[in-house]
């Protein structure tokens, strides 16, 4: 690992806690549905409301998703884990306690690896534990009162906790993106950050290199990658400023305000509640038999790293391309469809990582919504590869497809007159004319100046209105000038 990047002489130390909402149909301890956006309190059953006499019953689907994550990132799946009660009073916490794994979590250890630029990084996980979400307090809609919506109460969460292995805000974002990719890839979380399905808390501290860990402040609920970086950068600057001014950092929980770009303290350690954790007597220990783990292992999809390795081996892609294309399952599937249809994997990769991604990013579209289908892109690449059109002409066709001007590649090439000149007689005629019209360049080329040759190629291309095949022009020109 290279030496960590320092900020004003300080090393930044970050640990992450991510709450991934698990994609089960029903809640973690009840049968009420988990769908987002329903009318308040319509998806909360007696158990979620904590009505007297109700009891929790574990949703095995939530456990299965936790196992999936554990197997994906090389964790230990605890054969026996314990649910505890975290006791505190809050109106949107119906039981007066949250059921959460405390001492013995279901997923222990593991590692998330990713590229930061060209450098491969790894972040170790401490644990991932199952817990239930609370409801929501609505303070805006009721004058002088608060509304409580318990639809979210009991929604299954997996809290994924890292060691303080992260050394910069860029690395933090890269880790979060990688984790986001993993949980969506293996289908345990829909990854929707706006809806709160993937929420990150960052524990940030700074220290002089070689010193013990500094006091951390926890930035809560970072629900976009952009804010994540802004918030951490602000927090790091703020902490360094405090220390430089001679103030000690107080352990605190802070919130990031996207409007001001600042973090501000919500509560300090002195306010920290005593949660009086104890094993929930309503839930026996969660026992996971090896057979269950093996069944889940057998059902896991091909994982990004394995798929990237296969792209290198089977399609001859560089590792960078393979890693980039396996950022999402949909992207990888799109690539494979294009590559297999056009038999030009490297060209397919270039197009997807270049033109396709650029346009998707500009419009913040997921690849599933790309207006150019994999079949269309494959047809386009085929026409470039067989010399029918130039690469530049290909981009014009792609633009036309993207904007919905047409669907059929060959028809578009025809309509736009982009077909390359394949008649070598016509091309030779143009080349002869160009040679005749540019004796200076010819002389310079013969005197050994390569630039002069390029000027001649440009003249030929111009005269052919871009329809000449540049390689063919090159070859013909060289043979004529030889």
């Amino acid at each position: 690992m290279s030496a960590p990047k320092l900020v004003q002489g300080y090393e930044v130390v970050i640990g992450f806690e991510t709450h991934a909402q698990l994609s089960t149909e029903s809640k973690i301890f009840s049968r009420a549905p988990t769908a987002f956006g329903a009318e308040p309190n319509t998806q909360a059953c007696a158990v979620d409301l904590a009505l007297p006499g109700t009891l929790p019953v574990m949703n095995r689907g939530a456990v299965e998703r936790a196992i999936r994550l554990g197997l994906t990132i090389g964790s230990t799946i605890a054969p026996r884990s314990i649910f505890a009660r975290k006791n505190y009073f809050y109106p949107d916490l119906p039981k007066g306690y949250q059921i959460s794994q405390f001492e013995i979590p279901v997923v222990q250890g593991g590692e998330v690896s990713f590229f930061l630029g060209d450098e491969k990084k790894s972040v170790r996980l401490v644990r991932a534990h199952l817990e239930e979400d609370a409801g929501k307090s609505l303070h805006e809609d009721f004058i002088g009162q608060s509304g409580i919506d318990l639809n979210r109460a009991g929604t299954p969460l997996l809290e994924i906790v890292t060691e303080p292995d992260i050394r910069s805000s860029e690395e933090a974002v890269a880790y979060a993106k990688e984790l986001h990719k993993i949980v969506t890839w293996i289908g345990i979380c829909d990854g929707n950050m706006q809806e709160g399905s993937f929420r990150c808390d960052a524990n940030v501290s700074v220290r002089k290199p070689g010193q013990p860990l500094g006091t951390r402040r926890e930035i809560k609920n970072l629900n976009s990658f952009k804010f994540m970086q802004q918030a951490i950068d602000f927090e790091v600057r703020w902490q360094i400023e405090q220390i430089e001014d001679g103030h000690a950092i107080q352990q605190a929980t802070v919130l990031f305000d996207p409007d001001t770009g600042e973090t501000r303290s919500m509560r300090t350690k002195e306010d920290a509640a005593d949660y009086r954790y104890f094993p929930d007597p309503d839930l026996p220990p969660l026992v996971i038999e090896p057979a269950w783990i093996e069944r889940v292992r057998g059902e896991l999809p091909e994982l990004p790293r394995a798929m990237a390795a296969r792209f290198v081996a089977d399609y001859g892609l560089p590792e960078y391309d393979a890693t980039t294309l396996t950022q999402s399952k949909a992207m990888a599937a799109y690539f494979e469809a294009v590559a297999q249809a056009c038999k030009q994997p490297k060209l397919a990769s270039n197009w997807i990582m270049g033109e396709v991604s650029r346009r998707l990013n500009a419009r913040e579209l997921a690849i599933e919504l790309a207006p150019v289908s994999a079949a269309q892109l494959a047809a386009l690449i085929t026409r470039i590869a067989d010399g029918t059109i130039s690469n530049n002409a290909g981009k014009q066709v792609f633009d036309a497809l993207w904007s919905g001007e047409g669907q059929d590649i060959d028809a578009l090439i025809e309509a736009k007159g982009l077909k390359q000149m394949s008649d070598s007689g016509a091309l030779e005629k143009i080349i002869d004319e160009v040679i005749a019209a540019n004796p200076d360049n010819v002389a310079q080329f013969k005197a050994g100046k390569d630039k002069a040759f390029n000027a001649l190629v440009g003249q030929v291309m111009k005269a052919s209105k871009g329809k000449a095949n540049p390689q063919q022009v090159n070859d013909l020109l060289r043979s004529k000038l030889a």
Binding site: A50, G53, P94
Partner: protein, 495 residues
């Protein structure tokens, strides 16, 4: 035919099935008795219309054929069970008037077997108490909260927390009642009122719909006049409820009546010497000894055993139960249901006032103890330590069961005491739980069987404790005693 209320539940069920009497007239008869004996303060809720509607449905089922084994049998439920047809208060102001949208599994199972609900029975607030004096809502016919009275001597406690259940059955206001037992709350009131009650193995009866006191200990069971009646009821109310209660045992329901008449020849009855120490009152000792002699006559052999941590059961229980209670009762916060203070400032003030007003002293005491023992810095010393000793107590029983088939001893050190006697001294009341707590902590089935009368002609109960899932054996052992004695048939004067 003797009067309806003098019939055993077993006989009553037979007469109903034989259509010698109707469910409706049976219900009316018991409703009449309930009205006539409101001074006992046994009932917290009645709804004659609801009861009679259930009775008419039972009659229709009986007429149509295919009615359940308990069709038309009236039963009353401890107000710890939530019910759709009656309010469910747990004896607390916190839940005064609360209506549950569902029936507890135990209530539902009994109803599916055909029972007709007479009403809801008084109990200590949230089942915390052993004298039924902490009930905080008025009984039917009373303007203010009133302790349940023991039908054998109305100046005495019926025991608790299932005091209403025990008093109602003893006074023949109901042929049977449901109860719950966390540290002795079925066995002790059954003993104090001279009836039969059984707490099954933890997990046998679903806790779904039981308002939780201490989750790892709470267990439902029937209270009736005889072991035979209890067997009928227990067969109906037990069974797996895996979709609703994660601590429910995946053990099929049994017909507990089947082995009632098994002979006791060679049965080894373990007598724990710790149950017969200095704290045991002489009158109780005498009645217990007589019952044990009766067992010897029936062919059983008495074996001295030791349960060395019997005394430790008291501090262990009074750490674990309050710890769980402190958390279980957090949901009563004035936000969603139940009592909310009428006047308050901010949110914290609302919580404080609501809980200060809604909970009684004993409940507050246990919430505070429980909160303390779970607090940071005390958890290891109290809660964790208590859990360790709890496991040792369970191990002691397993050791004992190597040498005996059932354990026998007193249910309580004394007969029922005068109302108010221990009200000002909670520790004295806690100490009286000494013989019932161990079986609760170990999760073992235990029962109370009437075995005589002590001082002031108050009933004495013999406690029988069996190994896990040995309810059938316990009921058999109890039934044989009841074949040889008539203590369970005696009725307090005036009822």
């Amino acid at each position: 035919m003797s009067e309806l209320h003098q019939l055993s539940l077993t006989d009553l069920a037979q007469q109903l099935r034989g259509k010698k009497i109707s469910a409706t007239e049976t219900a009316q008869h018991f409703l009449g008795r309930m009205r006539a004996h409101q001074d006992l303060a046994a009932f917290l809720a009645v709804d004659e219309e609801a009861t009679l509607a259930q009775a008419r449905a039972a009659d229709a089922a009986l007429a149509a054929g295919g009615a359940g084994p308990l069709a038309g049998v009236p039963i009353a439920h401890k107000d710890i069970f939530v019910t759709k047809d009656f309010p469910s208060t747990a004896g607390s102001k916190m839940l005064a008037g609360y209506r549950s949208p569902f029936d507890a599994t135990v209530v539902r199972r009994l109803a599916e077997a055909g029972t007709v609900t007479l009403g809801k029975l008084s109990c200590d607030e949230f089942a915390m108490g052993s004298a039924n004096e902490s009930v905080a809502v008025p009984a039917v016919g009373h303007g203010a909260p009133a302790p349940v009275r023991n039908p054998w001597d109305r100046s005495r406690t019926p025991g608790g927390s299932s005091g209403g259940s025990a008093a109602a059955v003893a006074a023949r206001l109901a042929p049977a009642a449901s109860g719950t037992d966390t540290g002795g709350s079925i066995r002790q009131p059954a003993a104090f009122c001279g009836i039969t009650g059984i707490k099954p193995t933890y997990g046998r009866a679903s806790r779904y719909g039981m308002i939780a006191y201490a989750s790892s200990l709470d267990q439902a069971g029937p209270m009736a006049r005889s072991a035979q009646d209890c067997a009928l009821l227990l067969s109906a109310l037990c069974g797996p409820d895996l979709d609703r209660d994660s601590t429910s045992l995946d053990v099929p329901a049994e017909d507990f009546s089947r082995s009632l008449n098994d002979r006791l020849d060679g049965l080894r009855i373990g007598i724990p010497k710790e149950f017969f120490g200095a704290g045991l009152a002489d009158d109780v000792r005498t009645a217990i000894d007589a019952a044990l002699k009766e067992y010897e006559k029936l062919g059983a052999r008495l074996v001295e055993i030791s349960l060395p941590r019997t005394e430790l059961a008291i501090p262990v229980y009074y750490i674990i139960a309050p710890a769980e209670a402190s958390s279980n009762l957090s949901r009563f916060d004035g936000v969603k249901f139940g009592h909310r203070a009428g006047q308050y400032g901010d949110l914290l003030d609302m919580y404080k006032r609501t809980r200060a007003e809604g909970f009684g002293d004993e409940v507050k005491r246990r919430i505070m103890v429980g909160t303390y023992v779970l607090s940071h810095g005390y958890y290891d010393a109290y809660y964790l330590q208590a859990q360790k000793i709890r496991r040792m107590i369970a191990d002691d029983f397993q050791q004992a069961f190597k040498n005996c088939d059932v354990v026998a001893g007193p249910v309580a050190p004394t007969v029922a005491w005068q109302l108010g006697d221990k009200a000002e001294d909670p520790v004295a009341a806690y100490l009286a739980d000494i013989y019932t707590l161990s079986a609760s902590l170990a999760g073992l089935p235990g029962m109370s069987v009437p075995c005589g009368f002590g001082a002031n002609d108050m009933p004495v109960g013999l406690q029988l404790i069996g190994n896990y899932l040995q309810e059938g054996k316990l009921l058999n052992v109890a039934h044989r005693l009841q074949q040889a004695t008539d203590f369970h048939l005696r009725t307090p004067e005036g009822y």
